[in-house]
């Protein structure tokens, strides 16, 4: 099993005719994802990468039965794309776009409250259920079907974790990047709830980083109601306060959001905390033995 997406997921790509959209749609198709439509306003009626292009997400839902979306549109138009997808009835919206202004996301999240859908990202590598479906930009081939769930705020660091567990003989049920921005869709806790109900997920890796309090909240949830082993690594133990470490969300401000506080909260919740990023795979092994 897997969470949120599987072999039945039907994907529409918003911004399919752009450079990034084209490149990654091809990669998703090669992986075996069922891409049923693309959306580029003004290019409706054409075909791109053997996929019909529509003017709106609503058309793609009506004509092709799309139920998930991958967003590759430029930052200033991305929040509109998210809201359009939600309004069209898309259940799983994956927004890859990086650099969306915070107030745009505040507005989009308010809009999403009334809708029955989940948003992954923005500024995320996406979500993959190995062997079934990939919506995003992660390298598919490093993943293996298996029983470890992965939730992460970063991209390449997630690949590192995937690679470590794969090399130790474990696969992944689903790996999700929640995104590096201050305001994102699904959070650690939302995804932990999905993994809790997924019979085939035996353990979860939670990769956090400095900034915000999402890791502390996740720790609180794990302590109270998450029955499976959790392994965690927090990036940014050496990060100086007040500096934005690449991700808009990765900043220690007002003395809050340090790696130390997060690691402490997780340890107190019974999470296996890896101090070094090289130990993530081994910690999973220890936790499962």
């Amino acid at each position: 099993m897997s969470i949120i997406i599987d072999e039945k997921t039907r994907v529409v790509v918003q911004g399919i005719t752009g450079g990034e959209g084209t490149f990654h749609t091809q990669k998703m198709q090669e992986y075996g994802t069922t891409v049923v439509a693309g959306v580029t306003p003004g290019k409706g009626g054409t075909t791109h990468l053997n996929v019909p292009v529509y003017n709106s997400v609503a058309d793609a839902v009506e004509k092709e039965g799309a139920d998930a979306s991958a967003i590759f549109v430029p930052a200033f138009f991305a929040s509109d794309a998210i809201m359009e997808a939600a309004d069209a009835g898309i259940k799983c919206i994956v927004c890859i776009t990086e650099g969306i202004p915070t107030f745009d996301m505040i507005k989009a999240k308010l809009f999403l409250k009334e809708k029955d859908c989940c948003l992954i990202g923005p500024n995320t590598p996406g979500i993959i259920s190995p062997g079934k479906c990939k919506i995003g930009i992660m390298p598919g081939h490093i993943h293996t079907p298996g029983t470890i769930g992965i939730i992460s705020r970063s991209g390449t660091l997630t690949y590192e974790a995937v690679d470590q567990v794969t090399k130790l003989g474990y696969g992944q049920s689903t790996a999700v990047g929640i995104g590096g921005d201050p305001i994102v869709g699904l959070q650690f806790i939302d995804l932990l709830k999905f993994f809790k109900d997924d019979k085939d997920t035996e353990a979860v890796i939670l990769i956090g980083e400095i900034g915000g309090t999402a890791e502390e909240e996740a720790a609180e949830y794990v302590k109270k109601e998450f029955p499976k082993p959790v392994v965690s690594f927090i990036a940014g133990q050496t990060a100086p306060p007040g500096r934005r470490m690449g991700h808009a969300g990765a900043i220690i401000s007002g003395g809050k959001g340090t790696a130390k506080e997060k690691m402490k909260a997780l340890e107190e919740a019974g999470v296996h905390v890896a101090k070094s990023p090289a130990e993530i795979g081994q910690k999973v092994k220890n936790a499962l033995e």
Partner: protein
Amino acid sequence: MKIHEYQAKQILSKYDVQIPRGEVADNPSRAREIADKIGPRVVLKAQVHAGGRGKGGGIKLAKNPQETEKIAKEMIGMTLVTPQTGPKGKLVKRILVEEALDIARELYIGIVIDRAKETPVVMASSEGGVEIEKVAAETPELIFKEYINPATGFLPFQARNLAFKLCLEGDTFKQGVKFLISLYKAFRATDASLAEINPLLITEQGNVLALDAKMNFDDNALLRHPDIKEMRDLDEEDPLEVEASSFNLNYIKLDGNVGCMVNGAGLAMATMDIIMHSGGMPANFLDVGGGVSEEAVKNAFKIFVSDKDVKAALVNIFGGIVRCDLVANGIVKAAKEFGLKVPMVVRLEGTNVELGKKILKESGLSFYSAETMKEAAEKVVPLAKQ
């Protein structure tokens, strides 16, 4: 992005936020002219991107224009060291000359984005003029908060709630409410990430003014605000960081001596961490982007070459969509162009990794190679100490 106090006050006054009369000066005679106009008593405030200026001698009172000129002479060109500047301090290029006001009360107002609640929050406290972090940690009950409903914005009753909590009365109450609403308007209209008034001044006459003002802005929204983008003061930033940002690299200079070049912000932070766990200290954070273009690798090399603190370097690339052989070619090309001035440990992983390693090995350049992050860190730390 950060701006100076005088710039923040310029922006705020456009939104009818009350500020003291004053002007900015970059030489002593200009400071004297301003004092002639608004004085005789004025306050001189050093304009640098750091708090705690008063403690370092960056805020001074002058009783008359002559004294203003004298103090301005000392202050402009001085290196101001405050608890926030670090030991190197910051060069003062400009001062803000403002009318000196009688202080009855010093309050605090701050607006930030609350990430957990996903909306801005307006905070107010009667404990102004001090470090608000200390108040928040020790007496959190003294900080009052109103969360914004993004659909309606900051509502008048919320502003009144805060003004009552601050014990404002009569005309001062009215001014306080107006101040709060204007400040939120400025925050929202400029895509700010922080607007902080500490202290908010209540004068003996009962007037409400922003004695100090600090504003930071959402970098992702700056294209919508060309006027604010222009306020960026490159002199306040590390020259290497300025250069890196012109190449679209995420780079932050740090105190150690191990240069890092990594693709992806999370992996870059993790690489810094593992260097520390291996007994070293990173000289920088450098994210060349998940995609690692050849251009980015080249520019990262340029920065390594110009940073004298870098004694050894660690390149950690996880090739996902980008193939390791392309990355390896980029590294070899850059190393040939700029020279390998310091020992460099390269760790490649991911797609076509074997081919990538072969390219490095056959390049004729003396890279140190490593299989894992851990091995890479353990190799580079002793090299940096040699």
